[in-house]
């Protein structure tokens, strides 16, 4: 008996986590997928009824807004955070004496809750007493900056706050990447009189392709999951102008009592993540096993 225990101990230790993952991750995904194919409203029902919920999603102007917002927010957030992160990393890579302190400053927003970030930016961007009022107070009476309450511009405030929060992290990733490039190659290039910007654009940056991919995956993942930031910053408003699939799902699940819509919109989110992450994970795991 003890012999058997001894031999199987690794499996016994892993078993609870394995069961937990199978039930609480894959089982739950299965449940949500199933319910997304039913007519569930206030209570979950289990009789399958084709793609009725997905048709409702397709017909819902609110969900359409959410998807368009995700596309706008996701693209801008990822592109700006990457460009800014890379720029900051390169600037910091020039043997700056106070590098440690500056890095700390650039990165600290990552330690904050999105709710805190949203609260802070909501206050800064509010037109009555925030930036707009402040600049007006400096004598620019015509200054206007009311994106937060503007239907068409509010989504860009979400981009701004999200970039503020996450670009430092991208910088840290890129900085680690810059430091891992073989210094001999860089020195050789400098001895040959190749200008620094060419060293970056032709040697260093191309060699960091895997880091670009990692940063992209992390940012895309953050964008799709973005929920708390929108709740704290705009509450999805004005109207539902800044709704994202995540806030749509939450509204359907917990305030509208429409479980079918909640489940189907969650599945759409899942699908978006899937298409981005699975190829990445697959390639990662394959190279690890080789």
């Amino acid at each position: 008996m003890t012999r058997w225990l001894q031999d199987n101990m690794p499996k016994i230790v892993l078993a609870p986590s394995f069961i937990a993952v199978m039930v609480f991750v894959y089982g739950f995904i299965g449940w949500t997928a199933w319910v997304s194919l039913t007519r569930s409203r206030l209570m979950p029902r289990y009789e399958l009824d084709s793609f009725i919920q997905y048709e409702r999603l397709a017909d819902s102007p609110r969900f359409e807004t959410a998807m368009v917002n995700l596309a706008i927010f996701g693209t801008l957030f990822i592109v700006i955070a990457m460009v800014l992160g890379l720029l900051l990393a390169i600037l910091l890579d020039q043997k700056i004496r106070t590098e440690g302190a500056i890095r700390t400053i650039y990165l600290y927003p990552m330690a904050l809750s999105m709710i805190v970030t949203g609260t802070a930016w909501k206050w800064i961007l509010n037109p009555e007493l925030g930036i707009e009022a402040t600049v007006k107070g400096w004598g620019f009476a015509n200054f206007e900056f009311n994106w937060l309450v503007d239907q068409d511009m509010a989504i860009y405030t979400v981009v701004l706050a999200a970039v503020w929060q996450s670009s430092g992290f991208v910088m840290a990733l890129f900085l680690a990447g810059l430091r891992s490039v073989d210094e001999e190659i860089i020195k050789a290039a400098q001895v040959d009189g190749i200008p620094t910007w060419r060293v970056y654009s032709a040697i260093i940056i191309p060699s960091m392709a895997p880091i670009f991919l990692s940063a992209f995956i992390v940012l895309a993942h953050l964008a799709i999951k973005a929920f708390d930031l929108v709740i704290a910053l705009t509450g999805g408003g004005p109207g539902y102008a800044t709704d994202l699939p995540a806030t749509y799902m939450y509204a359907m699940a917990f305030s509208r009592g429409d479980i079918g819509q909640a489940a189907s919109s969650a599945m759409v989110m899942m699908l978006v993540v899937f298409t981005i992450v699975v190829p990445y994970l697959y390639s990662e795991l394959r190279t690890k096993n080789d």
């Binding site: 720029l87 805190v116 990733l173």
Partner: protein, 297 residues
């Protein structure tokens, strides 16, 4: 691309070099201001009186420093109908985060130890399944989890939230420890086995003593994640068991009475303090967690 040429190269004259250095530092300073500005505004706003906020501007220092807003935020601000400040919710967050961090780290360490050092058929598949679980949008598990928590009788309770955070934290903690233990030569385990040491004995006397750095990474990562969580907190709590992020959001969005921006800001800083403190004290490990969680697969 022009920005990249600010770095000195061998062909530049000393004066150009100096000018470029100057521009470089100016740029770094401007960005530093961008990142610091919200924190600065939060702090100064929280120290102003409401009157001063209404008349003054965002970036000015308080004419008269007052800690009233901090007192109210801590013990008097209203989150809906209750007006006890963030204190009880701050405590809730601690009661949720501490056990959840410890449990998920311990299980993650054992899982990582198995996956890295006791490979058996299927261990890698388990790891892949677990890893993928790190990436799912949690919306996809919210509804069934609400039902299961109800069935278990822990819905809306702090143990319920601990449970949820442990389950969905396992992926990352296992990943951390697995990646750490994989670099320890497996000959060590084999030799110990030959000497008659068992599974736990090897873990306890060989692996655990080596693990301090990765334990710190895991604890910091989990603490930050759980403390900053909002989605689970708002979905699975009820009046009285809400974590501090949910309370903060309620305070900011409560519509009763005068809008007290200074109290909002003080409450936001209080909610941010623990993770900020962790970051300042152990920033190195914080960054390692971030990069380990994203770079390595």
């Amino acid at each position: 691309m022009t920005d990249m040429s600010y770095a000195p190269t061998r062909t530049q004259s000393p004066t150009t070099k100096l000018v470029l250095r100057f521009i470089l530092y100016i740029l770094l300073g401007v960005f530093a201001l961008f990142y610091l500005m919200p924190l600065f505004v939060m702090i100064t706003t929280s120290l102003k009186s409401l009157d001063e906020i209404r008349t003054g501007d965002l970036v000015s220092l308080p004419r008269e420093v007052t800690f009233d807003a901090w007192r109210t935020a801590w013990s008097g601000a209203c989150t809906g109908i209750q007006c006890e400040g963030v204190r009880p919710y701050f405590l809730n967050s601690l009661l949720i985060a501490i056990p959840a961090v410890l449990i998920s780290t311990i299980i993650g360490a054992l899982n990582g130890y198995v996956v890295a050092q006791w490979k058996f058929k299927g261990a890698n598949i388990f790891f892949a399944l677990l890893l993928f679980g790190c990436f799912i949008p949690f919306q996809v598990v919210l509804l069934p989890m609400a039902i299961v928590l109800g069935k278990l009788g822990i819905s809306g309770t702090i143990p319920g939230l601990i449970f949820v955070h442990v389950i969905y934290g396992l992926g990352f903690t296992t990943l951390f420890f697995r990646n750490y233990y994989v670099s320890i030569p497996s000959e060590l385990t084999k030799a110990a086995k030959v000497d008659g040491a068992g599974f736990f004995r090897i873990f306890w006397s060989i692996f655990l003593p080596l693990s301090l750095p990765i334990i710190v990474v895991s604890v910091i990562w989990q603490f930050t994640q759980i403390w900053n969580d909002f989605l689970f907190g708002v979905s699975f709590s009820q009046a009285g068991t809400q974590p501090v992020t949910v309370a903060l959001n309620n305070i900011v969005n409560s519509t009763t009475g005068v809008k007290e921006y200074n109290v909002d800001m003080a409450a936001a800083i209080i909610a941010a303090l623990p993770t900020l403190l962790v970051y300042v004290v152990a920033g190195k490990y914080f960054i390692r967690g971030l990069t380990a969680g994203s770079v390595k697969g």
